[in-house]
Symmetry: C2
Subunit: 215 residues, 2 copies
DNA sequence: ATCGGAATTTGACAGTGTCAAGATTGGCTG
DNA sequence: CAGCCAATCTTGACACTGTCAAATTCCGAT
């Protein structure tokens, strides 16, 4: 093929591209598409592997298109984390509403669920509870709000557990909620971050944690 | 002052700079200077605020000078973290060698020390236990080695505590070490990352954690 | 039909880590 | 003393990042 032919093809391609739906100016719901793509990219590759430019490429849109829906990268991440917290909240309430089990048993299940969720969705857990979001002045007000809500639920569950007699009644509910979440969060982090390298005894770790927290 | 004078000054400054020790080709111990400067920069500003270029500027050396002593940024960070772990190890062994206190009391002191260290040296703690270092294949072999050593010490202390009767004897020492460290690490992380915003009741949290872990 | 404003793009800038190739130096050997 | 070697450090370059300002394109109301 001659070079002239190449040039002609190049000339005819450029204008053609504008009529292809790929690079059109209006999309169905770009905002949602961005969120979905972001979620995908985070799930495979983690928060740090996400760049707004790759995201834009993936959605088939220009680099800065996302800035119309999210003030900056941080707000986008906060939006995703918020979504995560809502689902998180649902899952937990579902576990504790299961009347077919004893309260103490539900709490043990909750612990195992927490751990398996954190490990199976490590990248997403890292987004929700990681430094990228919470650093300093990073967290959106609405993110802080939903996180606060989740923690309030946590306190309620702890208080309930104390009344039901499987959590130590002597401790302050708030402190107990903080420490028990701390325990789960700490284990999750140590495993996710690869500081604990043995992932084959997680159930035993959960049991040990449960034994310490419950009585 | 005339512009001509400025130009003359500019011309006389540039060649002069090469004879100043600032930009000379050989330094006393550039490696150590780099490490020191890195530590300073991490302490004020955190891991993410560290860039090799700013670091080079600060030491008064060209952008890529550090690459002669550290394969990449990650290795530099691992070196710093390693240093941190050694001091960490020293501090802990000092606490547990204090014979003037009862074993159980020492453990409570250890918990408080852990927490205050983590919060007062938040950026450094974040380096040592953070994702930046441990991610995947990130941690240097020597870093992994010293971290492993520290954790082995931890297990020993736990086993000792079980024998001395202030830690639950029924639990497997390894699991107990994992979970107890998890508790402290989790609390530290939640506080450092700003997920727990109330820093005014840390002692109570420590006490609550101690009550759960000890018996 | 036209004009406004929303949606999207292009261009640009400063910053990053890192590689390859060149410049400089101190110390050793002849 | 000359000369070269290897360690040390610099310059230039590349690809990548987030984000701003200024176009551009487009849909819907007037």
């Amino acid at each position: 093929m001659s070079r002239l032919a190449d040039k002609i093809q190049a000339m005819s391609q450029k204008p053609a591209r504008k009529e292809v739906a790929d690079k059109s100016y209006h999309h169905d719901d770009l905002r949602q598409k961005l969120i979905d793509a972001t979620r995908d990219m985070i799930r495979s590759g983690g928060v740090e592997a996400l760049s707004l430019r790759k995201l834009a490429d993936r959605v088939g849109v220009s680099r800065t298109a996302a800035y119309h829906y999210f003030r900056d990268k941080n707000v986008l991440l906060c939006t995703l984390a918020e979504e995560g917290f809502r689902q998180w909240q649902d899952q937990i309430s579902r576990i504790f509403q299961d009347e077919s089990r004893l309260p103490a048993e539900r709490y043990r299940i909750y612990i195992r669920w927490y751990m398996s969720y954190a490990l199976e969705n490590a990248e997403y857990y890292d987004l929700m509870f990681g430094r990228s979001i919470w650093k300093q002045k990073c967290a959106t007000e609405s993110l802080k709000a939903v996180a606060y809500e989740v923690f309030q639920d946590q306190i309620k569950l702890i208080r309930q557990g104390q009344k039901q007699g499987f959590l130590p009644a002597g401790e302050d509910s708030l402190r107990l909620a903080q420490v028990s979440w701390g325990t789960l969060h700490g284990l999750a982090r140590l495993l996710i971050d690869g500081i604990y390298t043995d992932n084959s005894h997680i159930d035993e770790m959960c049991d040990c944690a449960a034994n310490l927290l419950m009585r």
